[in-house]
């Protein structure tokens, strides 16, 4: 392992992908601070595996690891490792589109994850199924159900 090159490319990956990852994770977990924390842990895991195999698509690796961390019920904030005040109320989202945000929060986190990956990042249903470790049919039904739930919210907003 070439030490310097390894770290330089990791720093670069951090600069390039950290914000993107935090934005995705915040939509999934509903909380920006939690998302920043998850992104940090994702990059620490990346550092442990760095450099990733040449064939590995870095953003995809980060998305998969970050989302799995986010969706893993076993993962908790570390005891005594809390931040003093938590930004759980997502004013940032409520200011942008409160109706959509509230509708999104009624979906399950994993369904939001599938939605974000397909709608925002153009992943296919097969890719999402693989990333989240579920069957393709499951992803398809999540997406169809969530679109049904979100449709009235968006259409009402347009009127």
């Amino acid at each position: 392992m070439t030490v310097t090159a390894g770290w330089a490319s990791l720093d670069e990956a951090f600069r390039e992908h950290q914000q993107w990852l935090v934005r995705r994770l915040a939509l999934v977990v509903g909380d920006a601070e939690e998302a920043r924390d998850l992104a940090q842990q994702t990059f620490v895991r990346a550092a442990e595996r760095w450099p990733l195999p040449p064939a590995q698509d870095v953003p995809r690796w980060l998305a998969v690891v970050g989302l799995r961390l986010a969706l893993n019920e076993r993962r908790r904030r570390h005891r005594w490792g809390f931040l003093p005040v938590r930004d759980t109320d997502a004013t940032w989202a409520m200011q942008v589109n409160p109706d959509l945000w509230c509708a999104l929060l009624k979906l399950e986190p994993k369904v939001r994850a599938a939605l974000v990956l397909t709608v925002l990042d153009g992943y296919t249903q097969d890719e999402v199924a693989e990333a989240l470790g579920v069957a393709r049919g499951t992803v398809a039904s999540w997406l169809s159900r969530s679109r049904d739930r979100l449709r009235p919210v968006l259409e009402e907003r347009v009127r």
Partner: protein, 424 residues
Amino acid sequence: MSDDFDLRLRNELRALAEAVPVNGPLSTMPHDRSAMVSGLPIAPRVRARHDASLGLGAAVVALVLVVVAGFAIWSGRNAVPASSTPSPTPTASGCLVGGVWNNVAESRIQAFDQPALEKQILAAGGRYDWVEGRGAPDTQAQIDKFVADGAKVIVVRSVWSLDDPDAPAVLSAIDRAVAAGVAVIDYDGFIDSPKALLVAFDPIETGRIEARATLAAVPKGNYVILKGHPEGQVVPDLMASGIHEVLQPAIDRGDVKIVAETYIVNWDPYTAMEEMKSILSKNGNKIDAVIAESNSMASGVIAALEEVGLDGKVAVAGQGGGDDWWDLNHVAAGTQTVDVWTDFRLMGKAAGDAAVALCKDPDISKLAGTSQLSLPGHHQVTAILLTPQAITKDNLNLVIDSGWLKKDDVCASIAPSAAPPACR
């Protein structure tokens, strides 16, 4: 039409994503959130009502979302170790215990702490009800409400810092409760109140255990100590005092040299990794042991060590008790020397037992099994302090056998030839 909808959805989602404060400072909590739907990621907001006649409704109804499925999950994970079977004699008959749980989003609270606490209270014939706390500003009102509703004991789990501007208001709510004859239990929050009973794993002993295990692995050499968040928390300094107490004789003998000791803002793993990289380079990689005050920071340290090929060669200590199987996987792999396990089920049980005793007499000074703990720079508090368990390669089976973690997770990616006994 579908295309229209997809486009609009994409644009609106993108707008939300762009609005995420990616680096921003923490915003303060707005006070009016009655209209908000839960944004909590892991556990649905669950409110258990064991006695519908309690009449706690009105003020908290806005915070409440009874989710049947969530309740089923919560009840189903009532995984208290067999050794904690409660006494069969009801001793707290009819006594109402109220819980104010801040940051209930942590799934561990619903999975471990609260069920263990509740089990003890119900077994003693008491009643238990709880509300989700929303930070210091609301906690005072929630404490007052439980007092008004006739609670005999209130368990408060705080997550705010000691220098939070709203902390004094919570302290006065605690004072009012105690003056009204209600006992207050500070659940693992290290609130600066001599009137509340602190229930927590002993942070000084946690530090000692980390240091002892590290010293056993590396009796001589260059040590690094990474402490937690520098401000508004007493735990980092309490743990450090335990670490220093154990290391001091070895330092005096000249066996151990502390080459770096620093706080890590927010206990952040990535910051810990960066700090460790810098310490390694300043010391020409001549580091023999690292004592980190949390597993999250230890994982950052291990990442830094791996980069220079020293993982598994430098002793690393952490605590948090396998909050995350990944951390205990480090122990199985030999990259982390010790993890001090703080089993939250035991903490919940201890708080439940204390609540039952306080139902009979709310005077915490008369409670058996307490000790006095001085919070650095703050008051001395009365506390029930639990002793955590050091987990190393040799006793990893403890976390697996007790149902805390799954063997497949703890032992993931461990080569059979290098596997510790628990993974074979």
